[in-house]
Symmetry: C2
Subunit: 353 residues, 2 copies
């Protein structure tokens, strides 16, 4: 297969983990005989500094012309605590989502047995939890009409039928490929937009007779996710609720630094770690590259390259089992590996496999 | 002191726990020489059945003319899974909030040492957690302009300066009475309404130089609350975020059945358990009356009757220490007490104190 990948390392630890992601991609490509080309582009704080725009037009073009985008992370402390700054790295994220039509954000919440003790939850609750949060990513309050002056402000949580249908479809289809249990999260007892979501979901149900659907209010979902994470298989929800719930989901896994995500939609799909740019760790070779590496696996699986994805997952599991781990997940007394060393170990495993 | 209390037992287990709340109130009143009168009124599913309205006008009048409302819980399964039903018990809650101007929902998240093991979180994270969530309750998407047809829908997250100022004031003042740490939760990197909140909070900061303020995005807050609940002292946020975060907060305490709440504002304040109406347990004498009883304590403290409130809290602690507990929190092998028996024990403790 030929793959054209847009590479967006972004800020902070982004470039370091991206280097390992690309190395792993290369190893897999040469093993399976795929032809991969990369094109790097600027985004985030970096892009603001150099071009005054966190998602410049040329970056957009690189993404649009690629088969997939491999993204690391954006964000820089100099923009923190100033949500009113004119140009901010987050705007780059939002622009990328909108321009590439990335309406479906897919976040598998997986636990790794050897890291379950890192979870804030009790081990028995979280061990074996394995679900997927699907968040609508280009609608709702994020993109609805807004207004602010000194005395009042509003945001509009606006959804149209086609927007709701296409994301629910992603939810139903994901559920079908997994354990056929879909939880639609909304606040239909209060919000008109949620009532539309629920109505459409109910209309779609008959097309997926093999999928069990339940409806859950968002306040309940935020509790259930910690009280009984194993309840969930696939959860689908709107943008703002999804922002809150996907982060809550990642946090309970104990494996936040290992979780990849995908954002798919109308144009090129984007694959990226769930974690942020961790600017404090920049250049120290201590950041965990596994979420980035597993984002490569998700990307390959997206193109139906299942064996390739599975090999990366096996390599990651093996690295964990062999205590080839970055400091934050190293076992007591174990020698911590650097970002590069973990990446190199995994590349080596893939080559020898 | 003379106190006129509106009593709204509502649905499900409501009447049973209310009976104990009132008995405790009576015991405290006679001990301290207060003169309390009660007036009961209908609300919830009950009120729909009898009067076609979950918060009838006569109930409103009873509340308006009282010094405080003691509320239990509303909700009935026959209204579940049908968020589009014309009249629903929740509408009664929303009507009560709006008509009584209950703009501040105050939810202390407290852990009880003997119940920490009930938390989904690891004991060391949650033991000693003690914070207050303050949720704006009469604005935002709950009450903003809404629209829905077959093809589109929207809700409006609208806030005005006075609405934001008065709830932030509650937050600042609560922080001042506690550990002087206020966390303002918003999504100011995306939402215009959040930017107004943050702007106003920053303007108010100088009036409270003794309070440490930090600003946290809602997605972060939902993680921090489980990763490090002891970080928080007082948290203040808008209606929808507050709906999600207050429930998450209650869930982590392990003491959900024991948590009271207050809703205060322009008119009569309301005191009620955080938990729901648990219709399945109705009439079985198994519901835990402690959240209702602690709601009475919160009510007394609201009227600055500190010794009275403290006595109730001591009585509750003593009941727990003596394993006088309803089934869901009874220790293994311990005899479970009924709703009535727990209430009677506490009344007895207060009488003898
Ligand atoms: C940075 C911010 C705009 C973004 C969001 O809220 O979508 C982030 O929190 C995320 O979840 O990807
Ligand atoms: C029943 C519902 C309308 C209500 C709300 O969302 O406010 C409830 O969840 C609550 O938090 O009191």
């Amino acid at each position: 297969m030929k793959l054209k990948i847009a590479v967006l390392p972004g800020d902070g630890i982004g470039p370091e983990i991206m280097e390992q992601g690309v190395a792993v991609m290369d190893a897999v490509a040469s093993k399976f005989g795929h032809e991969v080309t990369y094109k790097e582009a600027l985004c985030g704080a970096h892009a603001i500094d150099e071009l005054g725009d966190p998602f410049p037009e040329e970056t957009y073009e690189v993404c649009r012309d690629a088969d997939a985008v491999l993204f690391a992370a954006v964000g820089d402390p100099k923009f923190d605590n100033d949500p009113t700054a004119k140009v901010r790295p987050e705007q780059g994220l939002l622009a990328m989502r909108k321009k590439l039509g990335l309406f479906a954000n897919i976040r598998p919440v997986q636990t790794f047995k050897c890291l379950v003790h890192k979870s804030p939850l009790k081990a028995d609750l979280v061990d074996g939890a394995d679900f997927v949060c699907i968040r609508e990513l280009t609608g709702g309050m994020y993109f609805g009409e807004k207004y602010q002056d000194n005395d009042k402000a509003y945001d509009t949580n606006y959804y149209t039928r086609p927007e709701v249908e296409r994301i629910l479809k992603v939810g139903f289809e994901y559920a079908r490929r997994r354990n056929r249990h879909l939880t639609v999260v909304d606040k239909a007892n209060v919000l008109a937009s949620s009532r539309l979501w629920r109505q459409i979901a109910k209309e779609m149900e008959p097309q997926y007779p093999d999928v069990d659907v339940d409806y859950m209010f968002v306040d309940n979902a935020s509790m259930r996710m910690i009280a009984e994470p194993k309840f969930f298989d696939v959860m689908v929800t709107e943008n703002t609720f999804g922002d809150i719930l996907t982060d809550e989901g990642s946090c309970i896994s104990g494996s936040m630094g290992l979780l990849p995500s995908a954002s798919t939609g109308e144009s090129t799909p984007v694959f990226e770690p769930v974690h942020g740019s961790w600017p404090q760790a920049k250049g120290q070779n201590i950041a965990n590259p596994l979420a980035q590496i597993l984002s490569v696996a998700m990307m390959l699986e997206h193109f139906d390259l299942k064996d390739e994805g599975a090999l990366i997952r096996r390599a990651v599991d093996a690295s964990l089992d062999n205590n080839v781990r970055t400091p934050e997940i190293q076992v007591e007394g174990g020698a911590a590996y650097g970002t590069k060393e973990v990446g190199a170990w995994i590349v080596d495993y893939i080559r020898k496999a």
